[in-house]
């Protein structure tokens, strides 16, 4: 009951919250929550810049993110953030600046959606993929990133 109340009032105090299109079954969070996780767990951040109703986002969700291996790799290896590039939902950047998800999409050049960006815990882009992705694209990107991280740790 307490949880239900919290969820209900959570809706009321989020006046700019908008529906988004993150793939189902993944632990996607808001950008600032994922950034905090990224810093606490020293993980890279994987940011999915989508848009409400975006066709190529839905295609990637249904044809690539649905894959169990993709889901395992991305859920384990990264702090996952979903950003609706048209949303007025606010977030706080590491600099302390409060901006909207739409502004964040502009700053990270989410010109067309979807855009998938790997960020280090400082928010710097280390790798980026634009447009529809296949299962093999996502797995290859993860392999490259993990291989680079392993080399860096040696």
């Amino acid at each position: 009951m307490k949880l239900l109340s919290l969820l209900f009032f959570g809706f009321l105090i989020q006046p700019t919250l908008s529906v988004a299109d993150a793939p189902k079954g993944y632990p996607f969070q808001s950008f600032d929550e994922a950034m905090t996780q990224s810093q606490q767990e020293s993980k890279l951040l994987f940011v999915y810049f989508g848009r409400y109703g975006c066709g190529y986002c839905e295609k990637t969700n249904q044809e690539a993110f649905i894959d169990p291996e993709v889901k395992r790799r991305y859920s384990e290896h990264y702090a996952l953030a979903y950003v609706d590039a048209e949303s007025g939902k606010r977030l706080r950047l590491p600099s302390g600046e409060r901006i909207t998800e739409r502004d964040l999409g502009t700053r990270y050049d989410a010109l067309v959606t979807p855009v998938f960006t790997f960020l280090n815990p400082n928010g710097e882009s280390v790798y980026r993929m634009v447009g529809v992705q296949r299962i093999e694209d996502l797995i290859e990107a993860d392999s490259k990133i993990q291989s680079a991280l392993a080399k860096a740790r040696q």
């Binding site: 700019t16 908008s18 848009r51 409400y52 295609k59 007025g88 600099s95 409060r98 700053r107 067309v112």
Partner: protein, 412 residues
């Protein structure tokens, strides 16, 4: 006088060299000199539903914005007389809560109304600037959680609009109001623009008065992607609006197996000519180009909003355009400005419409060049001069400055 001058300009337009510059801009000035003692960066934001953050009257120009100079986002207003070279008066408008996205209108020669979001509610107050600055009482407009405030006025009535969240989805609500001599708001009956409970988000409203009509436009997600919708009401008939209609068109041949439709973002409105209204927004119908600036004209004696037209020219390639802001003059002059990255940095660009044609896109020289000149807001004064404010930063994520420039109408 001004009407004659503008008429001459309009007649000369076909013979001019590809739409010569219509305004000559003075050097940009800082709107605020506020600092936080060098403790840390702080950030100015010049955003609001309808991008109405600047207002002029016969005496001066006022700009409202949000910054976090003391660690909390708050709303401020700065004012300068038209004959002053710098902003001389600045005042904080919001209270102790986090505040965002202020919007402003000029009520008369010396008074303004400002509305903003604070602690999840929509607030408003009047500001009188007649020698000294006097603030009216803060009034809460939203009954439940609300955001994305917009103000407009006409026929001596001001109208506040916002997205109110009484249930799961934001829903556009409006309230007429008048201000007495003491600066006190008299609130009229408020209601939702669409009486049918929303099936999805209704966001970022803005409005304009055309004759006896109040035209309201907003972002709407009912088709499971974002579109621009409009409804009209008539003065003297509060809370009676037409059935909302979609005004951002669906491009032909785009029935893809995935997704629900293309995106649009942040509509702005301006009035011009004889009771005409123009809506401009960022539109992703040419999806490979990202967002471009599109719009539609509303003519009261016709069937509402006309066919969509592309405001910007076709020389922008894959660069980003966004943050459309609109204003017009009773003489028929209409101008749209926006943020544009075609030159490799963020500039303020604009286009004006003459004899039904949009000019070439024109860079505001004092709001362009290295770095980022972003989030413009514009206002035309009674003489057709263009007032522009924007946020300047050297690098993405870096600290900001709030800038203003005066554009003198050419042709004297």
């Amino acid at each position: 006088m001004i009407r004659k001058r503008l008429a001459v300009l309009l007649l000369l337009a076909p013979f001019s060299a590809a739409f010569a510059e219509l305004w000559e801009f003075e050097s940009a000035v800082d709107v605020t000199a506020a600092s936080n003692g060098g403790k840390a960066n702080f950030f100015h934001h010049l955003d609001s539903a309808g991008r109405r953050n600047i207002a002029t009257n016969s005496d001066g120009v006022a700009i409202t914005w949000e910054d976090d100079r003391d660690g909390t986002p708050r709303i401020y207003l700065a004012y300068k007389g038209l004959d002053e070279s710098a902003f001389s008066r600045e005042v904080r408008l919001s209270g102790e809560g986090e505040a965002y996205e202020p919007t402003i209108i000029a009520l008369d020669r010396s008074r303004y109304a400002v509305a903003w979001e604070e602690n999840g509610h929509v607030m408003t107050r009047s500001v009188s600037i007649d020698g000294k600055v006097e603030l009216g009482q803060v009034v809460q407009l939203s009954e439940t959680a609300g955001a994305q405030a917009n103000l407009t006025q006409g026929n001596r009535v001001a109208y506040a609009l916002w997205s109110e969240r009484a249930s799961r989805y934001g829903r556009i609500r409006y309230r007429p109001m008048t201000v007495d001599e003491s600066g006190t708001f008299q609130l009229g009956e408020g209601c939702y623009i669409d009486p049918i409970p929303p099936a999805d988000e209704q966001l970022y409203p803005t409005a304009a008065v055309s004759g006896d009509e109040l035209i309201v436009v907003w972002e709407d997600r009912r088709p499971k992607h974002t579109i621009i919708m409009a409804a009209t009401g008539q003065s003297g008939k509060p809370c009676q609006f037409s059935e909302p209609l979609r005004i951002s068109e669906k491009p032909d041949g785009r029935d893809l197996p995935y997704g629900t439709g293309h995106g649009v973002s942040r509509v702005a409105l301006g009035t011009f000519g004889k009771e005409k209204v123009f809506a401009a927004w960022a539109d992703k119908r040419n999806f490979r180009d990202g967002y471009d600036i599109w719009g539609a004209e509303y003519t009261p004696d016709e069937t509402g909003f006309r066919t969509n037209e592309k405001v910007q020219d076709d020389f922008s390639g894959l660069s980003k355009q966004r943050n459309a802001t609109v204003d017009g003059h009773a003489n028929g002059l209409l101008v749209v400005a926006w943020s544009d990255e075609r030159e490799g940095h963020t500039d303020v660009m604009l286009s004006w419409r003459e004899q039904g044609e949009w000019s070439d896109d024109w860079t505001v020289s004092v709001a362009s060049g290295a770095g980022h000149q972003n989030n413009p807001t514009i206002a035309l004064d009674d003489d057709g001069n263009l007032h522009v404010a924007w946020v300047e930063r050297k690098a993405i994520g870096g600290t900001t400055r709030l800038k203003y420039a005066f554009g003198k109408l050419q042709g004297d």
